[in-house]
Amino acid sequence: MNDDAMNEIVQEFLVETNENLDQLDQDLVALESDPTSRELLGSVFRTIHTVKGTTGFLGFGLLEGLSHAAENLLSDLRDGRLGLTKERTDVLLEVVDAIRALLSAIEATGAEDDRDLSGLIARINVLQQDAEPVVAEAAHAEPVVAGAAHAEPVVAGAAHAEPHRSAGERSVRVDVDLLDSMMSQVGELVLARNQVSAHVEMIDNLALHQTVQRLSMIVSELQEGVMKTRMQPVEQLWSKLPRVIRDLAAQFDKLVSLEMEGGETELDRSLLEAVKDPLTHLVRNAIDHAIEQPDARIAAGKPATGTLALRASHEGGQVVLEVADDGAGIDPAKIAAKALERGLVSKGELDSMSEREVVDLIFRAGFSTAQSVTNVSGRGVGMDVVRTNVERIGGTVDLSSTPGTGTTFRIKIPLTLAIIPALLVGCREQRYAIPQANLLEMVQLRSDGASSDIERIGGALVYRLRGKLLPLVRLDETLGFAPLAADEQPEAVSIVVLQADGLLLGVAVDEVFGTEEIVVKPLGRHVKQVPLFAGATILGDGGVALILDVIGLAAAARVEEVTAGLALSSDLADDEDRSLERSTFVLLRVGRDRRVAVPLKAVARLEEAPASSVEQAGNGRVLQYRGDLLPLVALSEILDTACEDAPVEADGVPASIPVVVYSDGERHLGLVASEILDIVEGVFEVRPVGAGPGILGSTVVHGHVTDVLDVDAAFALAGKEPERVA
């Protein structure tokens, strides 16, 4: 036999044996909970037996000797002459580790290294000797029986063959590189198809159209088929975890049972590879930090054995992977203290953060809750790396945690990265692609009507979408284009509502063209530095379009902080307990430096009204507003602020005045401020300092003492019960 043929056999042996070892790990751990399962024992036996046979043939003496010893022990276990004890499981797992180590030595050097396995083999033999009294007479079933057992696997194999093993006969091994290159070729084919379709549109030939349509269909099917070949069940990723969990639990003296659900969910293999480390890290964390010691669990009224659940499922074109534990949960107070200690946030920032935002701090770089560096979680790989790794493949991670009850991490990732459906939008005569996974909805506004729905708060734009304020960025501004002159404004503005990283974002674009399947291509080094672009693609007409990175967009527009709160406010509304603690305020300036917070809840609109449209009616002032009259209340009157720039005063008034419009559906009322500063959300402790008529008290926002307005009392005080406006 020549060297090449031999190498090929060794390679095949390595691949196959490594797979079998993963199965062994699982089987052995499963055996612990079901020590008498003949099926599992048979499976373990067969695997070791195969290793022994092949290594003997290939001349790997150490492997052969080790697997022979293990096989003898397994043979006794399988035939019931010995019972499976923890010691025996341990030694068998050790065998698996030793085989693995030898395999990697063979892979690296082509030969076994010169490790000494005699100790391990001796221990196997000892464990084989001290049989339980009941079956003592059978304990001396050595070489002869073991030899006889060699014939058995055939029968056992036939009887207990697991479905996924026999499937091996109907499948072939394909080199991963070949699959990758097929995938990229199919990508090119899809592009070429799109281009042909675009050109054919202009040709009036029925036969040609039909042929192209058929071609198009075949290409789509081919694409789907090739994509499927790259799909692997999540199970594959999970297969190593039972062993990891068993070892970790033993190391920390914790009891952990593992539940797996949805392992058949399939995912592109490159993505599977990419989430492997984040997932393992989450599992390690759960056992190291989350699940308590058995006595602590019992004291907390929970079963001594903690549960770690791995779940996988499809959700709208994405795969959701969950790691859930029923451990101690994450204590926001501890996180806050740690973040403060590490200097990640200031006291002021913490005060304005919601509980959820505080918990999210664990994803910040430089944060690690490990009290001391353990050899499990404290490897310098923090949750920030988990998040970065997941986001790199277009996914998101978030977590929900209830102190005392447990924590659930959710990783959401796209099915595949190679070909994605995308929305094409236009901005300044150029097309951009937005991955459809990020797309929630589209809204079209005519320019003349748009101005009243798009408002500016501080420096940021917001759009009121079905009563909720949506942070908005103008794509042209974000891309650095100078604003258009008034007469160049497009007739209509489209708002594309996107979701990324748990936040909602509106992007105003000039035009929306529709969707197209695009092949994501990497950007060159010079363009890669722009965080707004995730890649580029070639469109049907041969033109190049940049793919927008939604997280980059949000970051560029610096909307994250504002939005985290806005996006959350809807979730929190459902949660009675927390909505009591949390609130969202519109922050106003009154007079020169007085700050007032008014609850956002009842705010219908934020307006800049021309000062000229304010008129005197009866004993109050009103604003002509949408064909109606809106009663106005100046905050400066309520606050009794000497107000140099009181905007409603007749002389020297600014051209426009900021008005916060309150509404309860029928009644409207306008609060006049000097400036609308911001929208803030968080837990604000209102202290009775400065409380008085119309003022509930004060709190601290962004480091400034801020009065909190009592809206109802303020109306009453001003003698203006909100009036009915027909």
Binding site: Q430, G524, H526, V527, A536, I538, V544, L546
Partner: protein
């Protein structure tokens, strides 16, 4: 054997250069670095990219970044309607196109006409070019192709202008 190895093995004894005109400058690029020279292509502008990046072109399904050599050198832009050529280089597995005014012939200058870049040239020039050759009636500036990878949009535009006049 990769072009790099090939090049190293061949040594510098008889180097061949593709020549290109950019404004008043004659620029040479080692022949083995040049993948192809193509006429002007439709280009997609990349907002916020370094100013030297003129756009992206579709080169038979591959997306290639086009660098405007005039912008890079800090020279005035091409007048309207003036044509340009794409010189596509292969650099560390990435194709990059250099936009030049026109392509010239391949020259094989005598080794003894080689000189370093004048020390009076600006820093920008010295980072871009690795040496010069005195040709008949022209000075050939040899582009250090690796410097293309270092473009970051922070070069002092205009600084190059006066210095290049001195060099030519």
């Amino acid at each position: 054997m990769s072009p790099e190895q090939n090049h190293a093995a061949g040594g510098d004894a008889t180097a061949q250069y593709c020549t290109f005109k950019v404004d008043h400058l004659l620029i040479g690029i080692e022949v083995w670095r040049v993948q192809e020279v193509i006429r002007h292509q439709p280009m997609t502008h990349v907002p916020l990219a370094p100013k030297e990046v003129r756009g992206l072109i579709n080169l038979r399904g591959q997306i290639v970044t086009a660098i405007d050599v005039r912008q890079w050198l800090g020279l005035p832009g091409r007048s309207d309607g003036a044509s340009s050529m794409n010189v596509v280089l292969r650099l560390n597995d990435e194709a990059i196109s250099l936009l030049v005014d026109e392509a010239g012939e391949v020259v094989e200058p005598a080794a003894d006409t080689h000189e370093g870049v004048p020390s009076t040239a600006s820093g920008q020039i010295r980072t871009m070019f690795s040496g010069t050759y005195k040709l008949d009636g022209a000075l050939l500036l040899v582009l250090d192709t690796e410097s293309v990878t270092r473009i970051s949009g922070e070069n002092g535009a205009g600084a190059a202008h006066s210095a290049t006049r001195r060099a030519s």
